[in-house]
């Protein structure tokens, strides 16, 4: 019983978040998004997440994986993240009134302004992928943060790998 009530509350909260996402002009912050996705974003790199996203079947539910990662100095979509992108594409096409902001990020190496460009390139690569799938460009906004707002602090290759990312912010 209790679980059911909680699930209902969560569903309402999620739909409210979606409505809030639609009405705002793209000011969604990474932190907000992490909050509404129920803390699942931390597991973004496990491959199981992609599978569970496609199991949802009905396209009225948003894929749970909201972050994809990139190789050093690259904006190429890695094959393991294609299912994640297809999940978001299906969701966006099934919900044409839903908008998404693609937040592009770079690791901390190099100059900040140049890294803004690198973050934007990654977000544009995702945008391109989504539009090839059939998502309307009007549903997609891009914000590049470059190396600002790193997901993980530190000067390790592991930290860099988690910071070179694009986040779906609904």
């Amino acid at each position: 019983m209790q679980i059911k009530t909680y699930a209902k509350t969560l569903a309402v909260a999620l739909s409210l978040a979606v409505v809030a996402g639609c009405s705002s002009s793209g000011g969604t912050q990474e932190g907000d998004m992490n909050g509404t996705s129920g803390g699942m974003s931390g597991q973004g790199m496990t491959s199981g997440q992609g599978t569970s996203g496609s199991q949802m079947g009905a396209n009225d539910q948003r894929p749970s994986v909201d972050t994809i990662y990139f190789a050093f100095d690259s904006e190429e979509i890695r094959p393991e993240f294609e299912s994640v992108l297809r999940g978001h594409a299906q969701y966006l096409m099934a919900n044409p009134n839903v908008n998404v902001t693609l937040q592009g990020y770079a690791d901390e190496r190099g100059t900040r302004e140049y890294n803004l460009g690198l973050g934007e390139r990654r977000a544009q690569a995702v945008e391109q992928y989504l539009s090839v799938q059939g998502v309307s460009p009007s549903q997609i906004q891009i914000v590049s943060y470059g190396e600002e707002r790193p997901a993980v602090q530190g000067h390790t290759e592991e930290a860099y790998a988690k910071n070179r990312r694009v986040v779906f912010a609904y």
Binding site: S24, S25, G26, G27, T28, Q29, E30, G31, N34, G35, E108, R109, G110, T111, R112, E113, Y114, L116, G117, L118, E120, R121, I142, V143, S144, Y145, E148, R149, P150, Q153, G154, H155
Partner: protein
């Protein structure tokens, strides 16, 4: 030029929504302390005697010590320690040159301070010990709140009398302080004296702030803030906090750079697809697009004569510096050493470029002589970025890392002396050295 500036500012302010920044009503103050990481082996020895004070009690500031620190932090002087001073004269009349020759002091500074009502009368003199003559002497008045400024003024006079180069100790720096992570991240823009003291917060935000740039008259600071949910370029009056949002186009609004006459702002905008270099006329707000290349083009900087711009482009596959006329046209590649050169900044004489270069050991501040192409790496730290050149060209301030902390670094433009300016807490980054302010 100044008249033009204020007219341009009025035109801007009239046309745009003007808002007050989260200003210093809470007066967030911060001091950065300069630490010497490498002294120059060619620094000139100078003796600076504590100034004699004839008033009651003590002074709120040790003027001679501030002068000594300024000169030491220029990298060009090595002040004798106070314990090495052979005597404590306060006037040139009491100086025995041979005493100072014996301790190898090349120059000597003496002075005295007398109370005068609510103020102080400061008298100082500079002597050339080897030449056996008095070079400079001056009397000025100061107050409690101005003693540091008076000390920096004295440093400027001494520096110029000895080196022939105008001193930059009375200038300021802007920088960004960041603390916390995730939802708790806070960003603030600070303006401080060039020695890191008297830092005052002029803007604070939950969203990133970057790329502060001083207008040539030192009155305004342009910067990039994400407070609206995307990058946007703002221009803020450094003393009143009055500000306006200059650009908020779709995509990146970044890398503002003032033209030397203060009438234009170069910037990088990706509103047409990818970051390109644009120049905005500040009076008319008309934009001119200078680059058309499917690469990232950013980090413009004006040559001191205002005729050309340097910028970063990765059109070759990796970031390199290019130069083009300020009115557009063909861009010419300038850097060829290494596979990462970015954020180029002209020296005030226009003959040298300072930049970030990558080699096997990391990202460093380097300089390239424009006529010969000769490149010299100036720093040995691994994470250097955002170089900004002092208005007299003698020093470059930049951002680097010390352990896990973001700190400011400074290096003399000959690379001989280097310094760190850490904050007591949090990260500091994105330094911008002001122009001469007086």
């Amino acid at each position: 030029m100044k008249r033009w500036m204020s007219q341009g500012w009025k035109a801007l302010a009239a046309g745009w929504l003007v808002s007050l920044a989260c200003l210093a009503t809470t007066a967030q103050a911060q001091n950065l302390t300069i630490e010497i990481t490498r002294g120059s082996d060619q620094a000139t020895p100078i003796a600076i005697v504590p100034f004699e004070f004839s008033g009651q009690g003590g002074l709120p500031q040790d003027v001679a010590q501030i002068v000594s620190d300024d000169l030491e932090h220029s990298g060009q002087f090595s002040p004798l320690s106070r314990s090495a001073l052979v005597s404590l004269p306060s006037s040139s009349e009491d100086v025995f040159y041979d005493d100072w020759k014996r301790v190898d002091a090349r120059y000597l500074v003496v002075g005295k301070i007398e109370p005068q009502g609510n103020q102080y009368r400061i008298q100082y003199e500079l002597m050339d010990i080897l030449g056996g003559k008095r070079m400079l002497g001056e009397t000025l008045t100061s107050s409690d709140g101005n003693l540091r400024a008076s000390a920096h003024y004295i440093s400027d006079q001494i520096f110029e009398a000895i080196t022939g180069i105008r001193g930059a100790f009375s200038t300021r720096i802007a920088y960004v302080a960041a603390s916390g992570t995730g939802d708790n991240a806070r960003y603030a823009l600070y303006v401080a004296d060039a020695d890191g003291h008297n830092g005052q917060q002029v803007l604070s935000s939950d969203d990133p702030i970057l790329s502060p740039a001083w207008s040539p008259d030192g009155q305004k600071i342009a910067y990039v803030s994400f407070e609206s949910g995307n990058s946007a370029i703002y221009v803020q009056n450094a003393s009143t906090g009055e500000r306006l949002r200059l650009t908020s186009f779709r995509g990146i609004n970044g890398a503002p750079a003032w033209s030397p006459d203060g009438r234009k702002l170069a910037m990088s905008l990706s509103k047409d697809g990818q970051p390109e270099i644009y120049v905005m006329n500040l009076a008319t707000r008309q934009l001119t697009r200078l680059t058309t290349n499917p690469a990232i083009e950013t980090e413009p900087d004006w040559s001191p004569d205002g005729q050309s711009l340097i910028f970063t482009s990765d059109r070759s596959g990796a970031p390199q510096l290019y130069r083009m006329s300020a009115t557009g046209g063909q861009a010419e590649r300038v850097t060829f050493t290494g596979n990462y050169n970015s954020d180029g900044r002209f020296s005030p004489d226009g003959k040298t470029l300072f930049m970030v270069t990558r080699d096997g050991s990391g990202y460093h501040v380097a300089k390239q002589e424009l006529d010969t192409g000769r490149v010299t790496v100036l720093t040995d730290s691994r994470w250097d970025e955002s170089p900004s050149v002092a208005p007299n060209g003698t020093m470059v301030i930049f951002a680097t890392q010390q352990g896990a902390q973001g700190v400011l670094g400074a290096v003399s433009s000959d690379g001989r002396a280097s310094f760190r300016l850490p904050s007591a807490q949090g990260d500091v980054r994105e330094p911008a050295w002001s122009p001469f302010l007086n």
